[in-house]
């Protein structure tokens, strides 16, 4: 069986600085995979490379065995990989409902249609309402997304990413800046919407990581130093030295 995501000797440089220095990683279908690492390790850059926001400098990214390196983001999305962002990235002047609907239009095959009236598309609107129900924003669906609270915007962010039914979902620090209770809710939400899909996430909150992930990869200075089950990562000496230890001292 081919892996959902396969990275081979992936590299990225900005000018003379190499940020990602030959990453090899294989993420199996249906796995919940977390990428952890100290600040500046290149986690977000890695996400941008996989999702097409940045072009790769070397190596390949494969999605279900198909090379997707350097494809534009919308092509990658159409092949079934969807992502959220670390900094909330929504359509602020559009209503919550419309935000989610934008995440559904392409997969419902509307493309750039100017011959369908959007409010008449029953199936699309019903599915949108379902997703909004799932992310718990039904009572807020008609207000502009820009005026939601931070936690609500994060939930919306995840909702947009997951709405389209992509089979690989990438979440970049989904719980960053959240309170404890908000984090718990977010975890429950992520668990629910990634059911039966592949999840790749960057996360700083170790509680979330060990709670949610099937496997964890540790990225330090642009290299994966370990990729294993949560227990083995927790017990790994190398990881503790490179990362967890450093975190504890802080």
């Amino acid at each position: 069986m081919t892996a959902a995501i396969e990275l081979q000797d992936l590299r990225k440089s900005f000018g003379p600085t190499e940020i990602i220095r030959g990453v090899n990683l294989s993420i199996a279908d249906g796995e919940r995979h977390a990428i952890i690492g100290p600040n500046g390790a290149g986690k977000s850059t890695l996400f941008h490379l996989i999702s097409g926001r940045y072009n790769v400098s070397g190596g390949t990214v494969s999605l279900h065995g198909e090379n997707i390196s350097n494809l534009p983001p919308y092509e990658i999305y159409r092949k079934g990989l969807s992502r959220s962002f670390q900094v909330t990235n929504i359509f602020p002047n559009m209503s919550v409902f419309e935000n989610v609907r934008c995440g559904l239009m392409w997969v419902h095959d509307y493309k750039y249609s100017f011959w369908h009236l959007i409010d008449r598309q029953k199936e699309l609107n019903e599915r949108t309402a379902e997703v909004i129900e799932e992310i718990g924003l039904t009572s807020r669906q008609h207000i502009p997304a820009g005026v939601l609270t931070y936690a609500e915007q994060r939930a919306l962010e995840i909702g947009i990413a997951a709405a389209g039914g992509a089979d690989v979902i990438m979440l970049d620090e989904p719980t960053a800046g959240m309170s404890h209770s908000e984090t718990d809710q977010a975890i429950a939400l992520i668990r629910k919407i990634t059911e039966g899909r592949t999840l790749v996430m960057v996360e700083h909150d170790m509680g979330v990581v060990f709670d949610l992930a099937d496997r964890i990869s540790v990225l330090v200075y642009g290299e994966i130093i370990a990729s294993d089950t949560p227990e083995n990562i927790r017990n790994s000496k190398a990881v503790q030295e490179a990362y967890l230890g450093a975190e504890a001292e802080e």
């Binding site: 419309e98 995440g103 609107n125």
Partner: protein, 432 residues
């Protein structure tokens, strides 16, 4: 900003009647207008309004809906006009049989063709790059219009005759009222089509790309293609407006596709409010009114339009429509009434101040431009001497006193505004 989503409003299907009501009202209004303003000037002004309504709405497909600031939208308007006037001449020469009232179709088609050509490279990026390309293309077209004389007619333009087509039930569009109904028909159809466009996936994604082009790419849409679709549609409707211009005035010149016209449409859309579907309609109507009425009274009407534009940009970026829409919350809570008095108290002195400023500008203008030695002038029915001491005292008093009083009323206006917009629960809490 919440009003922006008004054009993008609830997805829950509204009752059909409620959706249709504004359109029925619009239709009746278009039918009734010539009975209310039946003078020649009235018809002339309304015809121009109709043309500008379409033009400004097509412009807003770029700016308001799609986040593309264009400085060259007159290209599609002008080309539509030239194409249409040529077809009018073909019909006149008998080369070709076609009903005259459908001529704007050709304008729309050439607008669409040029939209496709120019959009194919200019929609790659929004923002500054797009604005610069639009400016360049606009200048290029304006320059070509003086070079390719066969198509653009050089400096005197191309003229035609709309009455030469086959009659439509005895109507040959010889009378102004006929052309009014012709334009009104086109206005109704195109406004409806442009509204419907905004309610399609392409129209919704145009808003999404305007809001956040990057995220749109991560839900499967190429920002470039989304812009391209809007751009082509916009060119099409601008071309139709140009075609109607040709039918109405029977002459199209270089001026119809140069930067001045591009600037005018930007002004209209912005003054009306680019965040609302009806904003450009309001803008086009007000601009045309200013142009045709104010210009009867003063030579410096363009200065006033310019000042209005600058003030809009600085203080009410949501446009004149936005000012009305700001009151929806208070309106729903039935508290608009409480604002009338504060508005009057601030509005009357503000009006005095504005009168003073206008009098100042007019008097200066009169002193500079009148015949040597002539000092008598009149403004708003008041005759005075532009060099007299008293006149200047009055002007100064109007500005200073009006300004002072307006300023002194602002705090209570602000307070009244906050009272009127407080959520109900909070207000009761404060009251009890």
């Amino acid at each position: 900003m919440s009003e922006i989503s008004k054009t993008a409003s609830p997805a829950t299907a509204r009752p059909l009647m409620k959706t249709l009501l504004p359109w029925i009202g619009f239709f009746i209004l278009l039918l009734a207008l010539p009975n209310i303003f039946s003078s020649n000037v009235g018809l002339y002004t309304m015809n121009l309004m109709g043309i500008f309504v379409i033009f400004a709405l097509s412009y807003n497909m770029l700016l308001g809906q799609g986040g593309m600031l264009s400085f060259g939208h007159a290209v599609y308007f002008g080309l539509g006009g030239f194409m249409s006037v040529h077809f009018m001449n073909y019909i006149e020469d008998g080369d070709f049989t076609f009903p005259m009232y459908l001529i704007p179709i050709f304008g729309g088609l050439i607008g669409l063709v040029f939209g496709i050509i120019i959009g194919s490279f200019s929609t790659r990026r929004a923002g500054t790059v797009f604005a610069m390309i639009s400016l360049g293309v606009g200048e290029l077209m304006a320059a070509s219009s003086l070079i390719f004389v066969a198509f653009f007619g050089g400096e005197e333009g191309v003229s035609g005759d709309r009455t030469t087509g086959p009659d439509l039930m005895g109507i040959n569009f010889g009378q102004d009222i006929h052309i009014y109904y012709l334009i009104a028909g086109w206005v109704f159809v195109t406004v409806a089509l442009m509204y419907l466009f905004s309610r399609t996936p392409a129209g919704r994604m145009a808003n999404a790309v305007r809001d956040n082009a990057e995220r749109a790419e991560f839900v499967g849409y190429s920002q470039r293609k989304v812009r391209f679709v809007s751009f082509c549609a916009s060119g099409f409707f601008a071309g139709i407006a140009g075609g109607l211009f040709a039918l109405n005035f029977e002459i199209v010149t270089e001026e119809n596709l140069n930067a001045l016209t591009s600037g005018t449409v930007l002004l209209m859309a912005y003054i009306g409010g680019v965040g609302f579907f009806i904003g450009p309609i309001v803008g086009a109507v007000i601009f045309t009114l200013l142009q045709s009425i104010l210009s009867n009274y003063t030579d410096i009407w363009q200065l006033y339009v310019g000042i209005l534009f600058v003030l809009t940009v600085m203080y009410v970026p949501q446009g004149l429509t936005g000012i009305f829409m700001m009151h929806t919350a208070a309106w729903r809570m039935r508290r608009v009434g409480s604002l009338i008095l504060p508005y009057l108290r601030a509005g009357v002195p503000a009006l005095a101040m504005l009168t003073g400023i206008a009098a100042f500008l007019e008097t200066i203008h009169h002193m500079r431009s009148s015949v040597e030695g002539e000092t008598a002038m009149s403004m708003m029915g008041v005759d005075f001497d532009s060099h007299s001491f008293v006149a200047w005292i009055v002007i100064l008093a109007l500005v200073v006193v009006g300004g002072y009083l307006t300023r002194s009323q602002l705090p209570q206006l602000k307070e009244a505004w906050e009272m009127a917009n407080k959520p109900p629960a909070q207000r009761e809490g404060a009251g009890s």
